[in-house]
Amino acid sequence: MAVTGVLRPGFIQLRVLDMEAAVTHYVDRLGLNTVTTGPDGRVYLKAWDEFDHHSVILRKADNAGLDVMAFKVASEADLDTFAKRITAWGLAVDHVPEGEQPGLGRRIGCVLPSGHRIELYATIALSEKHPPIKNPDVWPEEPRGMKATRFDHALLYGPDIDKNLKFFQEALDFSLAEKIELPDGLLAIWLTCSNKAHDIAFVKHAEPGKFHHAAFFLETWMDIGHAADLMTRYNISIDIGPTRHGITRGQTIYFFDPSGNRNEVFAGGYMYYPDNPTRVWDENELGKGIFYYEKQLNERFLTVVT
């Protein structure tokens, strides 16, 4: 099956306590490019290998966390279809007009059973500094800092993830690539709309709407090592890593932005196809699933969120 309908994660909007520190972190260290600052002060960023106008939005607030994660769909007609399907599934759909963010068309939004807001859109401007199209060099300007190539996925914490699972499968045609199934039910799900091992993931958590991490893709394991060097050199708060996930098989470092929002740099991960079986982890090997080399969770993985 070709990738249709929901194509990929489009953008994520995060709340930050100190905009200047946040921009230094995301631009100078992670290597995103500044696109523009909106009239309301929100700062728009994108990775060097993304064509679209922006993929990360920083909003200054008095608390940290996630405002919204949005997915790009293939066409305006798809957007209308998904609005109907989401309503039919049982969630309220709201509409955000074109221009609420620079370069971005109309969006539809809803709040998931887990308390997170997601949005869909079809139309977004081509970025000024997009990857070359004609006789393309490998990059337009040499990548900076950790050399993040794209906003890759997010992991969110909240209740009712079984309902989230049904919603993403039934209303948005996502597949369940991987899950942790404990004797008392689902602990975590990794969902994909593409060939990636995950585009969004959820962990069961009492408090709704919590944010665990936003992940940025790096090309190689060597780039993960370089990112680790930068984290120590610039005294970035590291959670864990470099290490590897059993789940998705990605190579990883978890670290924190200057407002305490967790980030991940992620390389590798398997290719997923919609005919693949769902990979399952149980309570016996859970540690290895999350951190393959440590073979156990650090306490922060399950408790520290924004």
Partner: protein, 119 residues
Amino acid sequence: MTAHTVRVEDAAGVILCQPGETIVAAMERTAMLSFRTGKDQPRVAVGCRKGGCGVCRVQVLDGAYRALPMSRAHVSDDDRRDGYVLACCVVPESDLAVRLAPRLPVRPTTSTTDIHANR
């Protein structure tokens, strides 16, 4: 500027903060040393180290300090008046006495309705 000690209620020993250093940064930096010397050092839970997650929350009982930006989801204005702060955002300006006051695991979450608000 001099180093300042931080005492934690009901815990033996002190955390010694160098000038400009937060309680959490000093505790993590010296943890290895206290392991080697066998001297007790108070422990504060550490999460993001950046004022976002709230796991390092303490109440300052006595002393002067400077606070870095921290999430109001974990320390409200009322909390601040009562001396509650996030230890990863506290730079002591005198010797301090604190009590652990970790955030409850479940508190009302931030509303998702104001995300487009112009702030």
